[in-house]
């Protein structure tokens, strides 16, 4: 039974290593966890989010920390949306790093840890994903608005321009499905007509058949609330089939431009708006610090995680002021409701809602010359 011995040996070694790592926690710190997309197709998101958190921590610690606690974080990887790594990360963060708060991203990884988080009373914040499934879950708070609440802004704009019929095409994912429903409902409430609805496979690249169907229905506008590259391929196929109707959606990224090329001209989308040119003093210092360190403007993901770190700071202050232990997640959770209004990096204040989401300023963009240009604003 040589194999048995070998396995035993390996198991023992691994345990020893793991245990030796586990005695490194420092009591003088307030350590929180982050479970982000550090590798895989979404690694860009993880990077920008971690930058936001990093800058906030530097600022907080430079100002002497919070009530005797220095802030620090441990970042773990959910590999761009995988659930098992997210669960592993959760177990590690809560049992080795003993965190009481976790900043998460993406919807499936976040959902996958929520049963455990509720059981262990760990407060979880998500500033990346926007999905109706993330609503109304104990201990989970989203600092992104629900897309369903933003989309009407875009549709109203198009309605006012005189468009009346709409075709939709959306990915078979939770968020796009819900957005499609919301969009359809809103459009019909205005008196418009939805002439075709098509659900597509996430990650598909050839949408010419779908575009053919849209062409046959001849709609005034096309709604595509899919995410990532999917939108790009849809836009490309629609234009390729010679359809001239305006396309609107909910997302835009640089990678998507590589897929569409010129075809994205005129694409409309609305989102929460983090204005790097804002006059708000706090925003100004953040943008300056970010620019100094990374030599580019922060995007709204970086801003969200920067903001989240400050929200944590506020919560820790509240808990410690009352004589509580910030490593108790249920106290952090309770502290939110002492006053759900927090200072926002978007300017002014943001407010947590009972359903687990929040409200922020929204802006409508149109792609002009390959770049998103602001064409209309709505304040939070």
């Amino acid at each position: 039974m040589k194999s048995g011995k070998l396995i035993g040996l390996i198991v023992v070694c691994v345990f020893m290593i793991s245990i030796s790592f586990s005695f490194t926690a420092d009591a003088k710190e307030f350590k929180f966890g982050q479970i982000l997309a550090m590798t895989g197709s979404g690694s860009w998101y993880g990077m920008t989010m971690e930058r936001g958190t990093g800058i906030a921590i530097e600022e907080i610690n430079a100002a002497g920390g919070v009530k005797g606690y220095n802030f620090s974080y441990v970042v773990e990887d959910h590999k761009s949306g995988l659930t098992t790594p997210a669960q592993n990360a959760f177990r590690k963060l809560t049992s080795i790093d003993k965190v009481s708060a976790i900043l998460s991203s993406f919807s499936a990884p976040t959902l996958s840890i929520m049963s455990m988080a509720e059981q262990k009373k760990i407060i979880v914040f998500n500033g990346g994903a926007s999905s109706p499934k993330l609503m109304n879950i104990p201990f989970l708070h989203n600092t992104r608005m629900l897309g369903d609440e933003i989309l009407p802004f875009t549709l109203k704009y198009l309605w006012d321009k005189g468009y009346r019929t709409m075709a939709t095409i959306y990915a078979n994912q939770t968020a796009p499905i819900s957005l499609n429903d919301a969009g359809k409902k809103y459009w019909e409430s205005l008196g418009g007509k939805v002439v075709s609805e098509q659900m597509h496979e996430t990650g598909a690249t050839d949408f010419t058949s779908e575009a053919s169907v849209i062409k046959a229905k001849n709609p005034d506008i096309i709604l595509c609330p899919s995410t990532g590259l999917d939108v790009g391929y849809v836009i490309k196929a629609v234009r390729k089939m010679g359809i001239k109707a305006p396309i609107c959606g909910t997302e835009h990224s640089g990678d998507m431009e590589k897929v569409t090329g010129d075809a994205s001209e005129g694409y409309l989308f609305a989102s929460e708006f983090f204005d790097v040119n804002s006059d708000d003093p706090w925003t100004k210092t953040f943008v300056a610090a970010f620019k100094k360190k990374f030599n580019e403007d922060p995007d709204f993901y970086a801003a969200n995680y920067y903001e989240l770190t400050y929200i944590l700071k506020e919560l820790v202050t509240r808990v410690v002021d009352k004589g509580g232990d910030p490593y108790d997640g249920s106290l952090l959770e309770k502290a939110i409701w002492d006053n759900p209004k927090f200072k926002s990096i978007y300017g002014g204040y943001m407010k947590f809602k009972e359903n687990g989401t929040c409200e922020k300023p929204v802006v409508l963009f149109e792609i002009k010359g390959g770049k998103p240009m602001v064409i209309k604003k709505r304040s939070g």
Binding site: G40, S41, S43, N172, Q198, M199, H200, E201, A204, T205, D206, T208, S209, E210, S212, V213, K215, A216, L229, Y233, K236, K240, M241, G242, D255, K258, V259, G261
Partner: protein, 288 residues
Amino acid sequence: MGLFLQLLTRGIITGSLYALLGVSWGIIYNTTRTFHFAHGFIYTFASYSILVFTWMSVPLIPSLLLGLFTATLAGCAVEYFAYLPMRKKSASQLSIFLTAMGIMIAGQSLIHLVFGPDSRPLEGFPEHVISLGTVTFTTVDLFTVLLCWIVIVCLFAFLGHTKAGMMIRAVSSNPEKATFIGIDSRRIFVLVFGIGSLLVGIAAFLSTIDKPATPNIGLGALLISFITVFLGGVGRLGGAVLGGIILGIAESLVIMVLPTEYKMMVIFLILFLVVLIKPEGLLGKKIA
């Protein structure tokens, strides 16, 4: 009717590309009976080779030729350095397949390591919309269909009318007999891998001018290649062409009756029914 014609056109465009993918894998499988899983890697490799040459500011056509050449070499190398030594050891089909899978995964990851996960468009091919009545397509589509069929016709002419082609057919119909009459099947195998890789390189080029390359485009192409072959019939290259066309058209027309997210299901259903009713494939020879 307009929609039907439009979808049929799309199906023929996609089907032509599928047919090319099918023959590229089929010629290898029919001749060597190797489940060449690494074909997907050759596809990705071809795409990136062409891209790399264009980045070195080589014009499009010379880049294409250079890219195809390196892809062909890569295909031959896989046969010569990976499969051939295993066949010599008379390794099982299963272990050759697992090796092929290893090459596919390792190769794809290597491309990811070197070029990152981003989409890489191949620019420089003029794309214009052409409308004929209710049917719309682009110059890229037209070029794709023409090139696919020219290449397929050339391949069949090569197999039917040249000495090397006859030798390939001899080996694929009966390897032992072919050895009897003095054909070195090892060299034929390397040749066939070269041809298959050249063909898949052309397919990779055609799809990269339409859609940007990413490190994992190979898997989808691979799936289509072998499903096409098994659907159309093992042992007869015409089967792969037929399989490709059927698959392309089915995939496009299914949208008239089912939501499009069931595309994959329909392909699988067709495959399942064919295997159930006629296991040797639509045009295949009966399996003893």
